[in-house]
């Protein structure tokens, strides 16, 4: 490995080193606050190391990894989300008094796994990254062991993720059998001359899609989502919703681009039916939920469906659309779960929709932030979510996919209902003087609120003036 390789890998190395360092700091019996602050610092360091990436893209670290602009973009999103989750976690875990320190080690490991996914160009690194991510998540989901739901969710995730990993491995093996390689580009080259997919390859790819589908929680592999979202501690839920999905989407996109999978109609048919089913089922199942975490879980199924719609055309615009939508979705979902985290109390997470009643009269600022996030998820203009959805619609109409664009529209109309339900709950029940509550951690509370306000500003900024982000997304585009 040359010096340049080290520079290119510096974010990954920093994340790895951070987890070890935090472990050592825990051994020194530092306080929770110090651990939190140092991990925050390390996250910031990892984030800024991305700016020193050599711009001669793409940089291959043979045979496993490639660091190109797209990878840098996705890593940036992932590390940024890790950073936000880290900030929001302090109050949440401090109140629970269950030895919250090791949490930060796991957070670094999971972020590392997702980053490896974003840079991988080989089945081995794909699998390694995925396993680092999921094994960390098992522990994170079940972290609050005194709570009934947490353990249940952890076990559920463990069983299903292990199950899907098996599928993934078997699929990889079949593809290896067919092509003799596990590297994306060589697989792509061996497919290059073929007019249609060989059956063995198709089977392998199908099994891989099952594995990936489980991680992405798209229909019909979505059963675990609601329970895990509900059971996991709220900051972890936001982590699952953003980081783990973003990494997987990135590697999926890279794989499809490299093997040029868009020209094989059975493959596209599979993706299309998954996308359509996810949009419809996700939105329909969310309608009757009374738990905000579950609503967001089902809505995430629908949103992953939207992302697949963006991915299906496989054009330049669709790569931009995926990147844009991911960025918008990350910011939005972090904001939404951030509000839930702040509102959670020692005993209960703020997950029942009733607990949002009259929030607007009690905490106007938090209610406005939450409304902005929900409107962005619903795709209403003035928010980033709208431009993202517009981008997706444009990408799919450009390629002539009218049908799935239409389903997307229907899906978002259904989706509107449950987002509005939360919003109207916040505005219902008038009067009520704002109570002055005693905050146990005023400084961190303030910091969290400031972070969430900044995210909201981003949501609105990208909704009103998206040119900057569009330029950015284009610059960091995956080369075809």
């Amino acid at each position: 490995m040359s010096g340049n390789d080290f520079i290119a890998l510096s974010p990954l190395l920093l994340l790895t080193g951070s987890s070890v360092l935090i472990m050592l700091l825990i051994a020194l019996k530092l306080s929770h606050r110090n651990i939190q602050l140092s991990s925050l610092l390390l996250f910031i360091l990892a984030f800024f190391s991305l700016f020193y990436e050599p711009d001669v893209s793409p940089h291959h670290i043979e045979p496993l990894l490639v660091v190109d602009r797209f990878a840098v973009f996705i890593m940036g999103l992932i590390i940024f989300s890790g950073l936000v989750v880290n900030i929001l976690s302090y109050i949440y875990f401090e109140e629970k008094e269950e030895g919250p320190k090791e949490y930060y080690v796991l957070l670094f490991l999971c972020t590392l796994g997702a980053c490896v996914l974003a840079t991988s160009k080989h089945f081995i690194s794909l699998f390694l990254g995925l396993e680092i991510l999921t094994v960390g998540l098992y522990a994170l989901i079940a972290y609050l062991k005194a709570r009934h739901h947490n353990i249940e969710a952890g076990i559920k995730y463990l069983v299903l993720a292990a199950f899907s990993s098996a599928f993934l491995l078997f699929g990889m093996a079949l593809i290896y059998l067919q092509t003799g390689s596990m590297e994306f580009s060589i697989i792509g080259r061996s497919l290059h001359s073929l007019p249609s997919l060989p059956p063995l390859f198709l089977t392998g790819l199908g099994m891989m899609l099952v594995g990936v589908g489980f991680k992405l929680a798209v229909v019909p592999f979505h059963m675990w989502t609601a329970d895990v979202y509900q059971g996991a501690p709220t900051p972890v839920t936001s982590f699952i919703a953003t980081v783990s999905k973003g990494g997987v989407i990135a590697v999926l996109l890279r794989f499809f681009i490299v093997i040029d999978g868009f020209r094989f109609s059975p493959l596209m048919l599979m993706l299309m039916s998954i996308a359509i089913a996810s949009m419809i089922v996700g939105n329909l199942l969310a309608l009757q939920q009374k738990n905000v975490k579950r609503i967001l879980a089902y809505s995430s199924i629908a949103h992953l469906g939207y992302l697949l719609v963006a991915l299906i055309p496989g054009s330049v615009m669709s790569i931009q659309a995926v990147s844009f939508y991911l960025a918008a979705y990350f910011i939005t979902i972090l904001t939404a779960f951030g509000i839930m985290t702040i509102l959670s109390t020692k005993e209960n997470d703020a997950e029942d929709i009733e607990s949002y009643k009259a929030l607007f009269w009690k905490h106007p600022l938090l209610a406005c932030i939450f409304s902005a996030a929900l409107l962005s998820l619903a795709g209403i203009p003035l928010t980033a979510g709208f431009v993202g959805k517009f981008f997706i619609l444009a990408a799919s109409l450009q390629a002539g996919f009218w049908m799935i664009a239409f389903v997307l529209v229907i899906g978002s109309v259904i989706g509107l209902y449950y987002y509005l339900r939360i919003i109207s709950k916040m505005f219902s029940g008038r009067g009520g003087v704002p109570r002055k509550e005693q905050r146990s951690h005023p400084v961190f509370y303030l910091v969290s609120v400031i972070v969430l306000s900044l995210l909201t500003l981003f949501i609105i900024w990208f909704g009103v003036y998206p040119s900057g982000l569009i330029y950015f997304v284009d610059y960091f585009r995956l080369n075809m």
């Binding site: 209403i380 203009p381 003035l382 709208f386 444009a394 529209v409 109207s424 284009d474």
Partner: protein
């Protein structure tokens, strides 16, 4: 530049009201009143300048334009332009905006800042819709007016406000998304034809689209507009939203939001898809007539005062559709008159309903009666407004409906005959309303107050404008004429089977009609 200022002041004023509303309860009202009045004065002085200018009868239809790149990657620009139609509707927007602020002066007591923020942002969205000449920007403003309206109904409405707010939002949003699909469709078709990907209205105008595609794209636009208008099968959001909204909300809904639908058809559907529009013309006219009659019958059977007025809107908007799809100058002039006069007369009725509710704490017509003796001023005003609504000559609505019927008669005789029956129905429900509320035995024991000074000013301005429009509609007709002529030419050139309609002839006709009308009105008044 005046166009950006107009939207800018509204949005800025809204933010200011929101921020200052934290400290002071009455400041937001004054800020809102100030911003809307400044905008109104700017516009009126602009209008007067224009009408004294040289070129109002010439072919140049655009009076002001502003363009700035917004999202160049997609060919989206911040492009505003103003012609006669937009100008009229903008003046209307700001006029009703002032009244909306005034009529909620005492009604709103909590979250005053946020209330006025919403109010001003709705007005900003509506103004944007009327002047946006970029299809993306148009969609953007189209949606911008929804969210504050949703809050206005959902927070300050009456008992069933949440349900009404939902229904309103989902109906309009769903139809709006279909329009977005259609907008993207025409964007890509134009782009692949010419290689120039743009949302600019003027460049998209000449797009050649195959008839099948054009039909579907036209439907996408049409559905968004007829839901807003509303045309009969899509009207069910309207009575709920109107009756649950606070007074200012109902005023804006009836006076302005419905007009955006008609404006959209005139501005986008007809010029972008002339052939496709012609192919559905007879169906649209039929639905319009059904709307006229159905709305009137339902209005008669309501007991809730605001619902009753809401259904009269359905009936009156039926005339709009009938007129638009008659495709001739008379009818189109009538449509524009109808947009203006309906906004004023129905808006005034909603304000009146709000005042009654403030005094009696009910909207149920059955609980009212004999109010004239206690409130002669309000009774007289209501009488005049009801007369306007039923189309009494001398008041603006008569000119509008008369012109529409004249124009529609040329296009389709039998439907026009049916539509004329609608006038009889409207006389029935209007008179019934007056009889129930103001005449007959007195049902409320305690005494109620007549108009206050604020209310007198409110109502006087509305009544004066409706009488002015009835006696001297010429300024409105002149202002809209260049745009109407352009539209008509589109269809005269298009239609081969239609008899060639002489432009000059119809112009003379219209002046004749209006002068006859005003003449006969003057006689009646004397």
């Amino acid at each position: 530049m005046i166009l950006t200022y107009l939207i800018g002041i509204l949005m800025g004023g809204g933010l200011l009201a929101l921020l200052l509303g934290q400290w002071n309860k009455s400041l937001p009202k004054w800020i809102a009143l100030g911003t809307v009045s400044i905008g109104f004065m700017l516009l009126v002085s602009f209008w007067i300048d224009q009408s004294h200018g040289v070129n109002i009868f010439l072919s140049e239809t655009w009076m002001a334009e502003y363009r700035h790149d917004w999202i160049p990657a997609f060919g989206i620009s911040f492009h505003l332009a103003l012609d006669g139609l937009s100008l009229l509707l903008l003046v209307l927007t700001f006029f009703l905006g002032i009244l909306a602020v005034l009529c909620s002066w005492n009604e709103v007591k909590e979250r005053v800042g946020f209330y006025h923020f919403n109010l001003l942002w709705i007005l900003a969205g509506i103004s944007g819709v009327f002047i946006a000449m970029d299809l993306f920007l148009f969609y953007f403003f189209w949606e911008v007016m929804l969210i504050p309206m949703y809050f206005l109904i959902g927070i300050w409405g009456s008992e069933k406000r949440e349900y009404a707010a939902y229904k309103f939002f989902i109906f309009t949003q769903a139809s709006g998304l279909l329009m977005l699909l259609a907008i993207l469709g025409i964007y890509f078709i134009h782009g692949s034809n010419t290689g120039n990907y743009t949302f600019n209205y003027f460049e998209l105008l000449g797009t050649t689209i195959s008839p099948d595609t054009a039909f579907w794209l036209m439907l996408g636009f049409m559905i968004a507009f007829v839901v807003k208008l509303p045309l009969v099968p899509f009207h069910s959001w309207l009575p709920d939203a109107h009756s649950e909204a606070p007074t200012a909300g109902s005023l804006i809904l009836a006076g302005l939001l419905l007009k955006t639908g008609a404006y959209g058809i005139l501005r986008f559907v007809l010029p972008l898809f002339p052939e496709a529009a012609q192919s559905v013309a007879s169906w649209a006219m039929l639905l319009g007539v059904i709307g006229i009659i159905y709305g009137a019958i339902l209005a008669y059977s309501q007991t809730d005062l605001k619902r009753l007025i809401a259904y009269t809107s359905v009936s009156h908007m039926g005339f709009v559709i009938l007129g638009i799809f008659a495709f001739n100058e008379l009818a189109l002039q009538g449509v524009i008159m109808q947009l203006v006069t309906h906004a004023i007369s129905t808006g005034a009725l909603f304000i009146m309903a709000g005042m009654l509710k403030e005094r009696l704490h009910t909207r149920d017509v059955r609980l009212m009666g004999g109010l004239w003796t206690q409130m002669p001023q309000m009774g007289g005003t209501a009488m005049l407004l009801a007369m306007a609504s039923l189309g009494l000559p001398g008041l603006g609505n008569f000119i509008a409906e008369f012109l529409i019927l004249l124009g529609a008669f040329k296009a389709n005789v039998w439907l026009t005959v049916l539509a004329t029956c609608g006038l009889i129905f409207s006389a029935i429900y209007s008179l019934w309303l007056i009889q129930q509320v103001f005449l007959g035995p007195k049902k409320t024991p305690d005494s109620v107050q007549d108009f206050s000074w604020r209310e007198i000013i409110l109502m006087a301005s509305l009544i004066l404008s409706i009488i002015w429009l009835g006696l001297y509609p010429q300024p409105v007709i002149n202002t809209a004429r260049p745009m109407i002529n352009k539209l008509e030419k589109l269809f005269v050139n298009q239609s081969t089977n239609n008899k060639h309609v002489n432009n000059l002839h119809s112009t003379i006709c219209i002046e004749h009609a209006s002068s006859t009308a005003s003449f006969s009105n003057t006689i009646k008044l004397v």
